[in-house]
Subunit: 230 residues, 2 copies
């Protein structure tokens, strides 16, 4: 264990145990320098990591303080569907319904994807059962045009991941009742509760793709773990 790591873990332990509470001041850098008999840069690096972990805040002239935990942020896992399903030990499948260029589409208006766009619709399968319905728009001015039969066998999400690096993404998650198409395609009761994940993806300010995935409420849930400093 390095020295800066020891300093960091010493302080982290005092915070996690409750000996230091939110708002408390931790020792000044020069005090830690004396205490550990090291250079100031070493102390500073240890404290920097605690800042990065969200455990402390530092203020010039005032010192460093234990941060208030922020309950409202969590790391949400939105795994690649194929990976997720195969990790469960089930067979993953993809079935293409629609793949055509569109100039007008209800989602073009709301998604910010410019026309003309490639519209793709299909269903993800887990263990032979329909698992999620997907509707996607791909910006044709930004993405290199795939071969006509690309999405017959490969889900567009994985293809894009390997061909178009993204730089920004935005997610929206909500509950919706199953509409008619969903009811038929996923074999649900009418108006069954579904989890809908919408994702916008950009690359250097240019919209790349918009996707809406809808999961039956009883077949999928999102789990997020969070540790302030984990």
């Amino acid at each position: 264990m390095t020295l800066q790591e020891r300093i960091r873990s010493d302080i982290e332990e005092r915070i996690r145990s409750g000996a230091l509470r939110p708002g408390d001041r931790i020792p000044f850098e020069h005090e830690l320098v004396t205490q550990y008999g090291c250079a100031r840069a070493t102390v500073s690096k240890a404290l920097e990591r605690l800042v990065h972990a969200g455990l402390i805040e530092r203020r010039r002239k005032a010192g460093s303080f234990v941060a208030q935990p922020k309950v409202h942020a969590a790391v949400l896992e939105v795994p690649d569907l194929a990976q997720l399903i195969e990790a469960r030990g089930e067979a993953y499948g993809w079935e293409l319904d629609t793949c055509r260029v569109v100039n007008r589409d209800p989602d073009i208006e709301v998604s910010g994807i410019p026309a003309p766009a490639l519209l793709i619709e299909g269903v993800h399968f887990a263990g032979g059962q329909p698992f999620a319905m997907e509707r996607r728009l791909i910006a044709l001015d930004t993405v290199p045009v795939p071969r006509a039969d690309t999405f017959e066998t490969e889900a567009p999400g994985s293809w894009l991941l390997h061909h178009v690096p993204w730089t920004d993404a935005r997610h929206r998650i909500r509950a919706v009742p199953a509409g008619r198409a969903l009811t038929q395609r996923l074999k649900l009761e009418p108006h069954a509760a579904c989890l809908q994940v919408e994702r916008w993806t950009w690359r250097t300010g240019r919209a790349v793709t918009f996707v809406r995935q809808t999961f039956p409420g009883d077949r999928y849930d999102l789990v997020a773990e969070f540790t302030p400093g984990g």
Copy 2:
């Protein structure tokens, strides 16, 4: 703008523009030292920030490389309900239904909260309309017992936030149909699609609280923004 900030933004710009693609090697530290005419620590700090941002990876002897973007992680905002609602310009309200000590409860089994626990049920209001239903267990062996009337006026979430710092949390998000209690209390159609957020919170390995919040699907959705490199 500091020097390390300039180095960082120069490289970040080359990555975001696509000039440097995932897997590409970025200049060695000593090359950047020559290029910018600065100390190695300055270059190192700039690269460290890019690592922290998830934009690059560094390997001894090999160099530093542009990281593969990871689509599967996003920062999920789960704002404090009172703050969220007031930020919308609506009046926030809390109405307590139940507040009692329980030794047996269906959620005690699944939540990991040890008996005896404080069971709290109530409804959050936005602009006079019911906005979310909440069911919560609080571990009485870990949390200082609140006054009997504490939760008459203050939602337990905000009270806990200010009285019991947490160290770990886990979220689960799914879509559920509205049950009978929900239908009545939130004035919904039967079986309306609802977004259900469950949150477990621990402090130093000890369970603090478990809460299940249920939102009508048409009144709330979660939005998550993510940039690989913040």
